[in-house]
């Protein structure tokens, strides 16, 4: 009845004036700039476009992977092999990046750029006077916040390696702690970090409130860099880092305290799977969820050199039982993955075409999200 009446009115309107009567649009305010909440919903991720084709113009895009509309929330710049980390305590985002006074030449300036989460304005910068920040293809393990986000740890590489400690309250650079022979930053304890070393060992350094070194540990070699190296991109579950080897071994390391504890290894693959050369690989190819599950991008027929090409499946392991509990066949091969911290977690896949495929953690395909033309979002950060 209501529907008929409505149709009748519509017909009448069209008959008389060809167009329905609608309110005239009002002038809209200028200028108008959108803002974001100071605390982001847990379905939002940060997709770091490393932009190999124009490395001085990378970006970190903020994306709601649960949304079917308005999924792209905004972005911040990230120049020349930048690194990114979100504060979970302060409404701040940090980018370690490098600029040149004439774009690609001239005077170099390394900085920590600090953004406000609500406005995405660059509210402060801290210059790194030695211009020695590591320029390595982005990962999560070169810029880290520790001790309730009080200290920002910045990897330096010249190729001598060290870790710069910045006080996030003051922006002061407190110290630079050498880690000769080792590389990368894996938080260990409240005020400390560990690094993997070229000899197959691990180094760990703890520091005090002034950034000065208080403890140092040299863990002797526990894996063979030549025969089966550990990837340098572990997945964290709590304070345990799950390092994976090229040939599918799992090496958990307990980093709850400043002195790393090397835990027993286990394997991702059965004997048959090992014979088929199922191996982990890709870029950010391993992550975890809130239920102590480990997600790993796997490829069949692995060989010397296949370890960065991604894979056709994601395998899910229960880290308690060390058993595989799920095997997700992907629509398109994965290069990097992340799992959101949402109540209903989502599996985000950067496919090898550099678009984002979103799945449930059961492997049900949800949606495709483009980060932008010609982007390379190979590092995905869930909300911390």
């Amino acid at each position: 009845m209501r529907k008929i009446l409505f149709n009748g009115i519509s017909a009448l309107l069209f008959a008389c004036c060809a167009l329905p009567v609608v309110a005239e649009l009002k002038p809209e305010p200028i200028p108008s700039v959108a803002t974001l909440p100071a605390t982001y919903p847990d379905s939002w991720i940060f997709a770091h476009d490393v932009n190999f084709n124009s490395m001085i113009a990378g970006k970190v895009a903020i994306i709601d992977v649960a949304a079917d509309a308005k999924e792209f929330k905004g972005f911040i710049d990230a120049s020349m092999m930048a690194n990114f980390v979100e504060s979970k305590v302060k409404p701040r985002l940090y980018v370690a990046e490098s600029f040149f006074s004439r774009g690609t030449t001239g005077t170099r300036t390394d900085v920590i750029s600090i953004y406000d989460k609500a406005t995405l304005k660059r509210i402060k910068e801290v210059v790194l006077p030695k211009n020695n920040r590591a320029q390595i293809v982005a990962s999560k393990h070169m810029l880290k916040l520790v001790d309730n986000d009080k200290y920002l740890l910045i990897l330096a590489f010249t190729p001598a390696t060290s870790v710069i400690v910045m006080d996030t309250d003051t922006g002061e650079l407190l110290s630079e702690l050498p880690i000769a022979g080792c590389n990368l930053v894996y938080p260990a304890g409240d005020k400390g970090f560990a690094s993997l070393c070229g000899n197959g060992g691990m180094k760990a350094v703890a520091f005090d409130e002034s950034g000065q070194e208080t403890e140092r540990y040299d863990i002797p070699p526990f894996f063979s860099v030549e025969d089966d190296p550990l990837f340098d991109k572990p997945a964290f579950i709590g304070s345990t880092a799950y390092f994976l080897s090229y040939k599918s071994q799992v090496q958990p390391i307990d980093l709850a305290t400043s002195k790393p504890k090397i835990l027993p290894t286990w394997s991702l693959v059965s004997d048959e799977e090992a014979a088929e050369n199922w191996r982990p690989g890709g870029w950010q190819f391993a992550t975890s969820d809130g239920a102590q599950k480990l997600y790993v991008v796997m490829h069949k027929d692995g060989y010397n050199g296949s370890h960065k090409f991604g894979g056709e499946e994601v395998w899910v392991f229960d880290t308690q039982s060390q058993q595989r509990i799920q095997r997700i066949a992907l629509k398109k091969n994965a290069f990097s993955i992340e799992v959101t911290r949402s109540a209903t977690p989502l599996l985000v896949v950067t496919n090898t075409e550099m678009g984002l495929d979103i799945y449930t953690t059961d492997g049900d395909y949800q949606r495709f999200i483009s980060v932008g033309d010609s982007t390379m979002p190979i590092v995905l950060h869930r909300g911390r």
């Binding site: 700039v33 406005t119 304005k121």
Partner: protein, 181 residues
């Protein structure tokens, strides 16, 4: 349509050639990082039935009498736009993405709203101060004039009078109904 046919013919032929495992791996070596070059054919990108962009969620403006999808190049306000649509970038058809600055100086188009059949004056304010958004690149040129008539030209970077002149994306702001249709 000829160029579409040719393009597809070529792509299909190439794929047919590419059957060996060795090639698959060779290809991957180029793909993994090379895919930067965006995997989507422009024909694929542009051929959505709705006129939208793949991997971009459809929107409505939410205003009565403002029909269409602000993330589509087809959207009525965009009749003379040239750039990345801010609607796809964290802004809307009439607001800039967070952290950018809206240009106070701009150029003007006149677009017909299909909802009321009226011609509206649209102000194509650029948003400035971050790198190119990179989503929903759209170029339409209804009544666009050459750059010697700047107020009617969309090739000019209108990030003028902003603290940075780096272009991020474009809006289409309703200023009012055009007096002279």
């Amino acid at each position: 349509m000829k160029f579409l046919d040719k393009l597809m013919e070529r792509s299909s032929r190439k794929v047919a050639q590419n059957t060996s495992r060795r090639h698959m791996l060779t290809n991957l070596s180029k793909l993994m990082v090379g895919a930067a070059a965006i995997p989507l054919l422009p024909v694929a990108r542009a051929s959505e039935a709705t006129g939208g962009y793949p991997g971009v969620g459809k929107q409505v403006s939410g205003l009565d009498g403002d029909p269409g999808d602000p993330t589509s190049c087809d959207y009525w306000r965009y009749c003379a736009i040239d750039g990345f649509l801010c609607s796809c970038c964290g802004g809307t058809a009439s607001s800039c993405p967070p952290g950018t600055e809206m240009s106070p100086i701009t150029w003007i188009g006149t677009c017909r709203n299909p909802a009321d059949g009226k011609d509206y004056i649209i102000s194509y304010n650029d948003c400035c101060g971050k790198t190119s958004c990179g989503r929903c690149l759209c170029n339409r040129n209804e009544n666009d004039k050459p750059v010697y008539r700047p107020q009617a030209n969309n090739d000019i970077n209108w990030c003028l009078g902003t603290s940075s002149s780096v272009y991020t994306c474009s809006t289409g702001v309703v200023l009012g109904v055009a007096v002279d249709g």
